[in-house]
């Protein structure tokens, strides 16, 4: 489409990109989110071969199992690996839509192959957001869990998740600094207890979410 404006179509990855190149590029990223390639290797190769076809046709590795709308703003949500955009759904299904990726702790990906069932609304789900080793003690960072913006804080070896949005003037709490169990909002210094989401200011407490640490991963508990 963009060629119509006289500019060359921009393309990610070089013209001779192979399945192995895509694997090498995707594996560490998916791994940092708690996913691995499906254990059915023939299927992984099948999906990635499709993606290379799509790359040649469109310039990027869009999901072979989903329909592009043609609107780049919408279609960014289906550039592979699309895990961060759909992390609640995928954690509930234990795989991505296509089944290219499965959660680390799924032993046999064949069991999950093929079926696409949207998870039940309201079901509780543990959503992997990062690896323990990616967050030093005393740090706080922004994670997206479904549509929710969450500040993830590490105090010693404990992790806490609370709404990222300060209720003073909506500053991002993940941009603040930690003082013990208190996160200090970067905008005007309001202080929130990361364990409870409470602040001294009346009526301005924020929501907190349970966090589980398992197999080196940090998981935020939420509902579909």
């Amino acid at each position: 489409m963009s060629a119509a404006q006289g500019r060359p179509v921009r393309r990610r990855f070089s013209a001779d990109t192979t399945i192995d190149d895509l694997k090498a590029y995707m594996e560490p990223f998916a791994g940092s989110l708690g996913y691995k390639f499906n254990t059915e290797e023939w299927f992984v190769d099948e999906v990635l071969a499709s993606e290379i076809g799509i790359l040649d046709a469109t310039g990027d590795v869009y999901c072979p199992c989903r329909m592009r709308t043609g609107n780049p703003k919408e279609d960014v949500a289906i550039v592979c690996p699309c895990i961060p955009f759909h992390n609640v759904q995928f954690a509930a299904m234990r795989k991505c839509w296509c089944g290219l990726f499965i959660l680390n702790d799924v032993e046999d990906g064949a069991d999950l192959l093929g079926v696409i069932e949207e998870p039940e609304k309201g079901a509780e789900v543990e959503v992997p957001v990062c690896r323990v080793e990616d967050m030093p003690a005393g740090s706080v960072r922004h994670v997206k869990v479904g549509k929710r913006d969450i500040a993830l804080a590490r105090v010693g070896d404990e992790f806490y998740a609370l709404s990222n949005v300060c209720l003073h003037a909506f500053g991002p709490l993940s941009g603040g600094v930690l003082d013990g169990h208190t996160v200090v909002c970067p905008w005007h210094g309001w202080r929130y207890d990361v364990r409870t989401g409470t602040t001294d200011h009346p009526g301005a407490d924020v929501k907190t979410y349970p966090v589980v640490v398992r197999d080196g991963l940090v998981l935020v508990v939420t509902t579909v």
């Binding site: 072979p64 199992c65 592009r68 296509c98």
Partner: protein
Amino acid sequence: MTVMLYALSTCPYCRLTKKYLDENDVEYDVIDVDLLEGDERTAVLADVKNLSGGTSFPVLVVGEEVIVGFNKAAMKEHLGL
């Protein structure tokens, strides 16, 4: 019973589904939605959304039943294989 398959030409599950239907001598109609253009594509995509509630493929319609994905168990059941 009419069997209708909405598919994408790029999609591995769609290929597996076509293969499975062919191997079992099921008669079906198929539309590769990504190969349609313009209004037709928009209209068919809207149908798919109505049927399946999403934009995942394939969507196999067997009479009144809608099967999303390459779901052998569901196909067996509803196609009486």
